[in-house]
Amino acid sequence: MKISREDVIRVAELAHLGLSPEEVDKYRDQLDGILTYVEKLNELSLEHVEPMTQVLHASRSDRHPELREDTLLPCDAAGPILAQAPDAAKPFFRVPRVIEK
């Protein structure tokens, strides 16, 4: 097994996912299968290969720099955005207590 039950529980914690004990076992089996499959990449010699981090880097013209001007634009969206919140107290989103007394 590439991945232990403890690994699965730790990853679920990192991802803020609640998992039942049955789910832990199920995901362990499935992730193990997938991680075993992706070991295929070890067959490649990748030492001198640059990782591809974006698609159009090469085909972008130099006339179009990656960074745009930092221009201020009006954005009057607080109302409609807060209207979608499960618990809003204008102008805030309300959440359970974070800091213990």
């Binding site: 690994d7 990853v11 990192l14 803020h16 992706v38 290969v49 591809m52 159009l56 499960p86 618990d87």
Partner: protein, 481 residues
């Protein structure tokens, strides 16, 4: 072909201009068909009658005033439910966004609106576009209109099925690893993935940002070209959107193909390819040769590594993108005693099994100690796959392959083994990783009557050429092979 499916962008325009039908009457005709067929297909999740009739009314006023009609005036269009639509619920096929109503339109959607399109509604899809069968939707699977006990493909299954069933003239889908091309192949309609950056992703709910693309389905290639021309182009709201001029795609159609070299990579015709699919795609290539194309054998040696690279990169990006669903700002909230407990409860209840699995895999691949072994390695493999395409396009002008190794499978057939489902993406994920444009075009049927798709790739920003080849193939009877 049924009556509604026979509507095209051109015939809608002609009928409106000649005042044979109004845009409102046309919308009503499509809603009638949807009301009849959708209970069985489950292609639409939300119908947007109010907005559709308002849009149609604007078109009818323009006709009455004798104005020049915009490119898609009155054309009834369906939109995949991962694209933001002002005032229309956008669920992403997920419980976590069950009642989410976006306050803005995605750029692609806004451009359709400005071009006079009529939005019929939002189409079903795999949750957050993660899947290849539409069985991962929280709102139930879509059925394939050609064979009801089969999947329509995914993740844009609803958008493909809606066009195939004549419930929309065109639709928008999204393609991260094959999610337009594969359902296009399974439902027997053209589905087009443009170059990465060709269409703005602003307002597309993100799955894997370096791979996500928006593109159309339509009943024919000319309509695919017409919709692509409207949605393509630079957008300052998407920093990865390309500042490259958009040519007149429709003007490319009908030009001769006799200069074209088509590459046929042997790596796409190996083990696992269904024999009927192979035979039809071979016939399709022969038809292209008859049209004047020169066939060039190719090797794309890193094809076999594409699934591994894709599923590491896509899940890593997904785990990061989906961190935003925490019950604070929008969507579902499941209470908890602490903030962390609230996050956890919300995500446990809100996400389905495939989304959780991908978040888990992506989180693991990015976590301390594993980043170099998985994510970085996958990004390097991605560079080699992109290089395969760059090398190929030194020798050929387009690449032709099967879209999927098999035709549509039965509902439930592959749900128990996620890896088997992933492996079926082998012919589509390569082009996704390279960021090149690709279309799936109908190429006959199996003996059992299931549609088969042929895929055509071109170099970055060669949308016009890809559409030209597909259009010539279609007009030469390619879909009836």
């Amino acid at each position: 072909m049924n009556a509604a499916a026979s509507w095209t962008v051109a015939s809608v325009r002609a009928a409106l201009s000649a005042k044979k039908i109004s845009a409102r009457e046309l919308a009503a005709e499509f809603y009638e068909r949807i009301d009849g067929r959708n209970p069985e297909l489950n292609a639409f999740l939300t119908l947007s009658r109010e907005r559709a009739y308002a849009q149609a009314g604007r078109v009818d006023n323009a006709v009455a005033r004798g104005e020049t009609l915009p490119a898609l005036a009155g054309v009834p269009i369906a939109i995949k439910d991962v694209l933001s639509t002002t005032g229309i619920r956008t669920t992403c096929g997920s419980r976590i966004l069950e009642s989410y109503v976006p306050p803005y339109d995605a750029t692609a959607v806004e451009r359709l609106d400005r071009a006079g399109a009529v939005f019929l509604g939002k189409t079903n899809c795999d949750e957050f576009a993660m899947g290849g069968s539409n069985e991962n939707s929280a709102y139930g699977p879509v059925r394939n209109p050609v064979a009801l006990d089969h999947v329509p493909g995914g993740s844009s299954g609803g958008s493909a099925a809606a066009v195939a069933a004549g419930l929309a003239v065109a639709s928008l889908g999204t393609d991260t690893g094959g999610s337009i091309r594969q359902p296009g192949a399974y439902c027997g309609v053209p589905g087009f993935m443009p170059t990465y950056g060709r269409v703005s992703r602003y307002g597309l709910v993100a799955f894997a940002s370096s791979l996500d693309k928006i593109g159309p389905f339509a009943a024919n290639v000319a309509d695919v070209a017409a919709v692509t021309a409207v949605i393509a182009g630079h957008d300052p709201n998407d920093s990865t959107s390309a500042d490259v001029p958009v040519p007149d795609y429709s003007a490319e159609l009908g030009k001769p193909l006799d200069w074209l070299r088509i590459g046929v990579p042997e790596d796409y015709f190996g083990e696992g390819l269904d024999s009927e699919v192979r035979a039809k795609v071979e016939e399709g290539i022969a038809l292209l040769q008859k049209l004047g194309c020169r066939r060039v054998p190719l090797k794309m040696p890193h094809t076999d590594y594409a699934i591994a690279a894709y599923y590491l990169i896509a899940t890593a990006e997904a785990s990061s993108n989906l961190a935003r669903y925490d019950g604070v700002r929008y969507g579902l909230r499941v209470p908890g005693a602490t903030l962390t407990e609230m996050y956890r409860n919300t995500r446990e209840r809100g996400f389905g099994p495939e989304v959780k699995r991908r978040i888990m895999l992506g989180t693991y691949a990015l976590s301390a100690g594993y980043y170099d072994a998985y994510y970085l390695r996958a990004q390097k493999a991605r560079a080699l796959i992109a290089q395969d395409f760059a090398d190929a396009f030194q020798k050929v002008d387009a690449i032709v392959t099967p879209t999927s190794p098999t035709p549509a499978f039965r509902l439930g057939e592959k749900t128990s083994d996620p890896l088997q489902m992933y492996l079926a993406d082998i012919y589509t994920v390569t082009g996704s990783l390279a960021g090149v444009p690709g279309i799936s075009i109908p190429c006959g049927k199996t003996k059992a009557g299931l549609p088969i798709g042929m895929q055509i790739f071109g170099p970055h920003f060669s949308e016009g050429r890809v559409l030209q080849v597909a259009d010539a193939f279609e007009k030469a009877g390619g879909s009836q092979l």
